[in-house]
């Protein structure tokens, strides 16, 4: 098992916890029913309509869910927590607070820290800090190449034994096809997951936003949307040769969706995710050079946004990840060209994703699957589902509650979000990790 997980201490003296009167929604079991969950020793001991206050064990702590929706804690497969090396922007501690507030109970951080997580000590460092942080389960990917330089392979076999869940050069695509080929071959040796940032680097170099009319009008150098599908298609040829497990991060274009759809039909071991900005925003968000709308890959045109949203509904896109990228004010309050790319996302992942459900694009079960059981499955984690014996990572949400996103109230150390003030529906009421309450919304009993 992954040594990277937060300790699931089964305290002998810990009392059982009973969550009664909930609408349990669990995509893994295709369950959507009234009932309760009994937690004992950090794991789910019983679940279903038969679990009620009346038959609760005498010593159990009781939580009345008031008929609200109880879902598995979100599994966020792409975050940057900036520790070590960027603690002024985010730390594992502040990132975990933000995760708990956002209903994220498990997250995988990228290796683009300082130093880069490309050796055993780096993986062990994250594992140790994760153990100290009880609010969320924190895992990491190892770098795919040493120092993220795109040349020499890291010790994937050993890093995996120490808990790395996959390998990626984080914000960089592996440019050299021969290196990527060997990386996939080597990963296949141990059946490890490779995660690619899909962008042909030569085409993206110097670009600041999506290539097109808007870029032309405001005079910013563009990144053509085909830079994404070119890298994906190159990799798919190599995936076919190697038989390796390949995951495309933050898909943002219609062409990429098509390429991945075909690869899946062919039977290649390909999965992908996208992040909320790619189905909720388009390039017009940049408007008057708003650096909070500078992302990598860049926000695309409206037709690409629609294609990404449709691909989630259709299941071509497997997962929704926050792509949490904290940046301090100094990194964003600069001319657009110089601004860092990326936005925070842990606390907006759920409400922005729920827009797809509220608009009727897809069912609640199908939507939640993208942020719970499916990423857990790809990562090989036992959580992301509500079943007997599973870790009691759960989130209670008020599904329909309308509110405005208020970035000032966010727990994340950085505040770079384009969603401030956005009206959304769906609020996290309580978050539990291994049966422990790690977040409770103010005003709730």
């Amino acid at each position: 098992m992954n040594s990277n997980a937060v300790n699931t201490e089964k305290k002998k003296g810990g009392r059982p916890l009973l969550l009664a009167n909930a609408r349990i929604v669990d995509p893994a079991a295709n369950r959507d029913e009234r009932g309760g969950i009994l937690v004992d020793g950090g794991v789910i001991a019983d679940i279903g309509p038969q679990v009620t206050k009346q038959n609760a064990p005498a010593e159990a702590d009781l939580v009345d869910c008031g008929g609200h929706v109880l879902i598995p804690g979100l599994v966020d497969m792409r975050v940057q927590l900036r520790e070590p090396g960027g603690e002024h922007q985010e730390t594992i501690a502040t990132g975990s607070l933000a995760a708990a507030a956002g209903g994220v109970t498990s997250m995988v951080c990228l290796p683009n820290t300082d130093p880069v997580i490309d050796d055993i000590s780096g993986v062990e460092y994250i594992a140790r800090r994760a153990r100290e942080t009880k609010r969320a389960k924190i895992y990491c990917y190892g770098a795919l190449t040493r120092g993220l330089h795109g040349k020499d392979l890291v010790e994937m076999g050993m890093l995996s034994e120490f808990g790395a869940l996959g390998f990626t050069d984080a914000l960089h695509a592996v440019a050299d096809a021969q290196v990527m080929r060997r990386a996939l071959y080597y990963a296949r040796t141990f059946d490890l997951l490779i995660v690619q940032h899909p962008e042909e680097p030569a085409l993206a170099a110097g670009g600041a936003m999506n290539n097109g009319e808007l870029a032309t009008r405001i005079g910013l150098p563009g990144i053509p949307s085909c830079a994404e599908v070119m890298m994906i298609e190159r990799d798919l040829h190599l995936v076919r040769m190697s038989g390796a497990r390949y995951h495309v991060a933050h898909v943002s274009t219609a062409a990429s969706v098509e390429a991945i759809r075909k690869a899946k039909q062919e039977g290649l071991r390909v999965t992908c995710d996208t992040a909320p900005p790619y189905f909720s925003l388009n390039e017009n968000e940049i408007g008057d050079y708003r650096t909070f709308a500078k992302l990598s890959p860049p926000l695309r045109g409206e037709s690409d946004r629609r294609a990404v949203a449709a691909a989630i509904a259709e299941g071509v896109i497997d997962c929704i990840a926050s792509d949490h990228a904290p940046h301090d004010v100094e990194s964003k309050r600069v001319p657009f060209m110089q601004a860092a790319a990326g936005i925070i996302g842990l606390e907006t992942l759920l409400p922005v994703s729920l827009e797809l459900y509220h608009k009727g694009s897809l069912s609640l079960l199908d939507l939640l699957k993208c942020a719970t059981s499916r990423p857990a499955e790809i990562l090989g984690l036992p959580q992301g589902r509500l079943a007997k014996g599973a870790p009691a990572d759960m989130v209670l949400i008020d599904l329909d509650k309308p509110h405005r996103i208020d970035v000032a109230g966010f727990k994340s150390k950085s505040k770079n979000s384009p969603y401030d003030g956005r009206p959304v529906q769906g609020l996290v009421l309580k978050t539990f990790v291994d049966g422990r309450l790690v977040f409770s919304h103010e005003g709730q009993a």
């Binding site: 040349k151 020499d152 392979l153 890291v154 010790e155 994937m156 076999g157 060997r182 080597y186």
Partner: protein, 321 residues
């Protein structure tokens, strides 16, 4: 410009020894039988000493190899031949001459046998088409190294009495290994079952089409094997391009007693040398006198090369035959 007249040679009906691939099981068997006789023969056996008297054996090594060159040199000398060594350091290739020009120049000195090593696969096949004498491939690129496979087979046969039905694992850098390819040809032809075990970066494409089973996990691939053949991993290949690091390679693919424990209890350990202790093989295992036959392999090398020189020169008409 023909060197000597040739007569049919029923013992070994090939002019050259370029690889194992073109040989029949019966021919391999005959070469091994003959090698076995040379292995038991005294170093100064007078009949053997007369066999190649007046013949010229030319060692032409475009790629340096002290051990193989010495082994061929001793083999030729024990058969009474005149031996010259031309190594790459002094080669005219360095002065811009093409391989074939060099071959024609050497051929003009009328060697009976040329023992050739070259870093390019197929270079020796090309050279063999242009010379009058016999050519023995002493290793070409990642293609073949037939005398190594023969000496490995002889070592196994002398220890276990047979090749047929044995389960042999070849482990390590299969991709760049001519030793692996020649051994796969020989062992499968002689009825042994062959497995290859390596990280996929070190496995050539479609290697299973050569009749071997492919494994990427030593603990699975070594299960119940009779023979473990380790291959050398070149230093430049273990720094990130094919393998991330020495310690990772040793952790997953280095032969130690723990991984060896799933093999047959008396499984033999082989290595074509030179060994990288602590990279592909643990020192303790390499030095295990009950199981490691690495020194015997070197010893058998001379006998096998005597047999090959003998076999190939039987087709040449001359007063000594």
């Amino acid at each position: 410009m023909s060197a000597e007249a040739r007569t049919p040679n029923p013992f070994f009906p090939h002019r050259h020894l370029l690889g194992i691939e073109g040989l029949s099981a019966a021919e391999i068997e005959r070469l091994l039988d003959l090698s076995n006789r040379y292995a038991d023969m005294s170093k100064d056996d007078s009949t053997a000493r007369a066999l190649l008297r007046g013949r010229t054996v030319m060692n032409v090594f475009f790629e340096n190899s002290t051990r193989t060159q010495t082994s061929f040199e001793l083999a030729a000398k024990r058969l009474g031949a005149d031996v010259t060594n031309m190594s790459v350091g002094t080669s005219s290739i360095k002065k811009g001459e093409t391989l074939l020009d060099t071959a024609m120049t050497l051929n003009a000195m009328r060697p009976d046998v040329m023992v050739v090593r070259h870093s390019d696969s197929g270079a020796i096949n090309l050279l063999s088409q242009k010379v009058d004498g016999a050519v023995i491939n002493a290793g070409d690129g990642r293609h073949e190294h037939p005398t190594q496979a023969l000496l490995d087979a002889l070592t196994i046969r002398r220890r276990l009495g047979k090749l047929q039905g044995l389960l042999v694992a070849i482990c390590g850098d299969i991709l760049h290994s001519r030793v692996a390819r020649s051994n796969i040809h020989l062992l499968t032809k002689m009825g042994a079952r062959v497995r290859v075990i390596a990280p996929i970066t070190l496995l050539p494409s479609n290697i299973d089409r050569m009749g071997v089973e492919v494994f990427t996990d030593m603990r699975k691939g070594l299960k119940d094997v009779d023979i473990v053949m380790m291959l050398r991993l070149q230093l430049e290949r273990m720094q990130g391009a094919y393998v991330p690091s020495v310690r990772e390679y040793f952790h997953f693919f280095g032969l130690d007693y723990e991984k060896l424990s799933v093999a047959k209890p008396n499984a033999l350990i082989m290595h074509p040398g030179p060994m990288n202790r602590g990279v592909e093989i643990d020192s303790e295992v390499a030095d295990d006198i009950n199981r490691s036959v690495i020194r015997e392999q070197v010893e058998m090398g001379v006998a096998v090369r005597m047999a090959c020189l003998d076999a190939l020169t039987r087709g040449i008409v001359g007063q000594n035959r």
